[in-house]
């Protein structure tokens, strides 16, 4: 596979993800499968490897502002890594077409959450007390399985749950999620690595491309957060979802 294509594709995916404030995986997987032609299972594994590296840089920004609650991270990481090990283990037994359909549905959900997203200026955490462990178990397990199965970060499951159900502030939710995602991706990537699904020679181009793209997208995205931009990108995501779905059912 041409490494230059991989680098270029990953930069674009990272840029779009960083621009919209989404995790890289949700853009990277369709880019790799539909545009560069990477098989679905390998794209999922590559995406998880890229998320491992991306989580370190993204969580650092939240750590600086004390937006990572480690009392949330520890239990979240336990159950999400169990979920990730399970998800990556069963991934091999699910045909690529089904994975594409699942991914397309997930993309549609992302479009929905992108369009209804409101600008949040709340910066202080709510007094949350002790985290609700039972709820954390369920959310984390689900996030881990979804993340490892289709190669997304899992933030789209964790953030709304922490923010809306557990009543933490949005910044704590984002920060704790950014830190936990790296742990989930590691648990999933280890399984893919030893299964031989992860093409190690392609990890470098994808990681560096994603990091560069996300950095550029993050810088640009700060200046353009209007509904029009979100609408335009939602159309792009919808196109990707439609193509993934079409390829899945054919």
């Amino acid at each position: 596979m041409n490494q230059l294509y991989l680098i270029a594709g990953s930069i674009v995916a990272g840029f779009v993800g960083g621009f919209l404030g989404l995790g890289g995986g949700i853009i990277l997987v369709p880019f790799l499968t539909l545009i560069i032609g990477v098989p679905m299972h390998q794209a999922v594994a590559l995406s998880l490897a890229a998320i491992m590296a991306n989580s370190i840089s993204s969580s650092n920004e939240y750590l600086k502002k004390d937006f990572v609650d480690f009392r949330l991270v520890a239990p979240l990481a336990i159950f999400s890594s169990i979920g990730a090990v399970f998800g990556s283990s069963i991934n091999q037994y699910i045909p690529a077409d089904y994975l594409k359909i699942i991914f397309a549905l997930f993309l549609l959900y992302t479009i929905y959450s992108l369009l209804k997203k409101k600008e949040n200026t709340q910066t202080e955490s709510k007094p949350a007390g002790k985290p609700n462990m039972k709820l954390i178990c369920i959310i984390a397990l689900l996030a881990g399985i979804v993340s490892a199965l289709i190669g997304v970060g899992g933030g789209i499951v964790i953030i709304p749950a922490i923010y809306l159900i557990m009543n933490y502030s949005i910044n704590i939710a984002r920060g704790s999620s950014a830190f936990t995602i790296g742990i989930i991706a590691t648990a999933g990537s280890i399984v893919y690595l030893f299964q031989g699904v992860l093409e190690v020679e392609n990890v470098g181009p994808v990681i560096l491309g994603m990091m560069l793209g996300a950095w550029l997208g993050g810088k640009t995205g700060v200046k353009a957060k209007s509904i029009v931009v979100r609408l335009v990108f939602s159309i792009v995501l919808f196109y990707l979802a439609a193509r993934m779905f079409y390829e899945g059912i054919n």
Binding site: A77, V85, G182, S189, L193, V200, E201
Partner: protein, 97 residues
């Protein structure tokens, strides 16, 4: 020591990790252009090094809970590391069977 200054050590460590990741994967890409087979070996080692970042970060989280005297959460952090190590060992074992 307050929360922010405790966490600033981790911020510095993670920044160092980012530089390491950029360096090792840049080497991977350069090697990939020269020799595909060597790129696989270098890539394998790089990915394993990258996988080590998560347990190291969790060790740091465990230490954070030790200094703030939250034993329960300290144990939970170590359980995460155990799960990652067990998953790796289990997969390696399956690979060799």
């Amino acid at each position: 020591m307050d929360n922010i200054s405790r966490k600033s050590n981790l911020v510095q460590f993670q920044r160092f990790l980012i530089y390491i990741i950029i360096a090792i994967f840049s080497v991977c890409i350069i090697v990939g252009f020269i020799n595909q087979q060597a790129a696989e070996t270098v890539g394998y080692i790089s990915v394993i090094l990258l996988c080590l970042a998560a347990p190291i970060r969790m060790i740091w989280v465990g230490e954070y809970f030790r200094t703030t005297k939250q034993k329960k959460y300290q144990m939970l952090s170590y359980v995460v590391i155990a799960i990652i190590i067990l998953a790796a060992l289990f997969r390696l074992l399956l690979q060799n069977v």
